[in-house]
């Protein structure tokens, strides 16, 4: 078996620089797939790896496998726009995402891997007095819950975001904004690698290129999963297959409250520091969010493409719309060239909030339906879901994300859009 990487520290780096050893080793090994595990996690993305890591670290579960159809971090954990924040209006959501944001703050130390958490602030921009009232209401709700929120007027906004020209004549003039100072960005790939490395160090088997094709059951419980590498027995099965949650439901004979839509993101060529925060500009039924990566590229995204798709290829018309909004916001970037464009498949639920529950059988668990919120939720989701899987009881933090909420009328519809996922 491959020896995986040692504990990282300044002293270790110095020793490695002076010595001739084999300091730089693979972050996780290539273990052989065994025939049985205590827990099989399907999907080596953010939520799957974080769940496996916490199951091993906090609950002492020894035999865990993470099965991945393609590669570690191939899916949405490597396709998002790296933004983390906890400024949701509804209590169930803001407490969950605040737990996550607190974990982001210490994640590099916890994983012994630099995930480059950058608390550069996230600013929602307002284009009318009505917008300002809505943002003030959200900010007040957050402050009552002990979460940071600062309402910025025009002068405050001009000081905080010098790149934004507020005097420019605009069809939707910017009148202020709501800032969450602790919000910001985290390097997304490092999150997948960091969790994979930390989980592997605790003995978790990460098996790439191994697709799960079905679940075998006996006497009303699941006994294991069928994979492209043969049958694997498991006491408990966790599905964390962002982007394919609905398809997995259909595979298992369950119709889930999920539609799968594409969300595009894109990045410009690198430029000198221009934007020191994350801007979110919503107006007239469209929106754009934009930030500058550490490499200098402006990373941006917008709304969904508008119809179900698993192609991971965005529509040109939508790409154009996002770029138009970004240039309307920051006209000085109009001459930049686009470096890359990509799309991720988003499992949009009927209320825009995630699903964390059992799935059909008592020992099968579903962590999915993350809509746009998946990346920022990873640390809280991993910790809380591991507790759920280990104990069999959902912790209070994720109880509201049960599947039965649609039948009982306890939807968490942050946007108030109703059961129309394309509009969430």
């Amino acid at each position: 078996m491959t020896r995986t990487s040692p504990h990282y520290s300044a002293a270790a780096l110095l020793r490695a620089a002076l010595g001739r050893g084999d300091y730089w080793r693979p972050l996780w090994g290539k273990p052989t797939l065994e025939s049985a595990y205590d827990v099989v996690v399907v999907g080596a993305g953010g939520h799957g790896l974080a769940t496996a890591y916490h199951l091993a670290r906090d609950h002492g579960i020894k035999r865990i496998a993470v099965l991945e159809k393609r590669l570690v971090g191939y899916g949405n954990v490597g396709r998002n726009t790296t933004i983390v924040r906890s400024n949701y209006l509804l209590p169930e959501n803001h407490y969950f995402y605040e737990d996550s944001l607190r974990r982001w703050e210490t994640l590099s130390r916890d994983l012994n891997f630099n995930v480059m958490y950058s608390p550069r602030g996230v600013v929602d921009l307002a284009t009318s007095d009505d917008d300002m009232s809505t943002l003030a209401r959200r900010g007040n709700a957050l402050r009552l819950a002990g979460i940071d929120a600062v309402l910025l007027d025009r002068a405050g906004l001009a000081r905080f975001v010098p790149a934004l020209d507020l005097n420019l004549p605009r069809r939707f003039p910017i009148v202020g904004g709501l800032l969450q100072p602790r919000g910001g960005t985290v390097r997304h790939d490092a999150v997948a690698w960091g969790y994979a490395r930390a989980a592997a160090a605790l003995g978790v088997h990460i098996i790439e290129d191994c697709e799960v094709t079905g679940v075998r059951t006996a006497a009303g419980v699941a006994t294991g999963v069928e994979t492209t590498r043969g049958y694997v027995a498991a006491n408990r099965i966790v599905f964390a297959v962002a982007g394919h949650t609905g398809a997995i439901g259909t595979l298992l004979g369950v119709s889930l409250p999920v539609e799968t839509h594409l969300l595009q993101a894109m990045v410009t060529e690198p430029i000198k520091p221009l934007l020191s925060t994350v801007l979110i500009y919503m107006y007239a039924d469209t929106d754009v969010y934009i930030c500058q990566s550490d490499r200098g590229g402006l990373v941006m995204g917008g709304t969904l493409d508008g119809f179900p798709s698993y192609t991971r290829e965005g529509q040109w018309s939508h790409l154009e719309q996002v770029v138009q909004s970004a240039v309307a916001l920051l006209p000085q970037i109009g001459a930049l060239r686009m470096l890359r464009q990509w799309a991720g498949t988003n499992d949009m639920t009927m209320d825009g909030s995630p699903l964390m529950d059992r799935l059909r059988w008592d020992n099968v668990f579903l962590n999915g339906g993350w809509c746009y919120g998946g990346f920022k939720g990873i640390p809280a989701s991993g910790a809380a879901f591991a507790k759920f899987v280990a104990s069999g009881t959902a912790p209070d933090l994720i109880k509201a994300y049960r599947l039965s909420r649609f039948a009982t009328g306890h939807m968490l519809d942050e946007r108030g859009a109703g059961p129309f996922p394309a509009r969430q």
């Binding site: 394919h244 609905g246 398809a247 439901g249 259909t250 119709s255 889930l256 409250p257 999920v258 539609e259 799968t260 508008g306 119809f307 179900p308 798709s309 698993y310 192609t311 290829e313 529509q315 018309s317 009927m350 649609f406 039948a407 059961p419 129309f420 394309a422």
Partner: protein, 78 residues
């Protein structure tokens, strides 16, 4: 992606509005509203040609390859 509208011919997807996935005809009211038959290889959907003839269409397509297998006007027999 282009969609062959039965009235207008092949038009860009931008002219069309996706409405919803076609519910299972045997499903109860709750399931019709909140649950979806979600498959990565075959999808039956309601669309409307909003920037064209405004007809409501039933489209069967493969959401992984973006191939369109069938387009018919809602309410008309196959």
């Amino acid at each position: 992606m282009n969609i062959p509208c039965p009235f207008c011919g092949r038009r860009d997807v931008e002219e069309f509005q996706f409405r919803t996935l076609v519910p299972d005809p045997d499903a109860e009211a709750f399931a019709r509203l909140y649950e979806r038959v979600n498959r990565s290889d075959d999808s039956l959907e309601y669309w409307q040609h909003v920037s064209g003839c405004r007809a409501w269409l039933v489209i069967r397509r493969n959401p992984t390859t973006a191939e369109i297998h069938e387009v018919r006007v809602l309410g008309e027999a196959r």
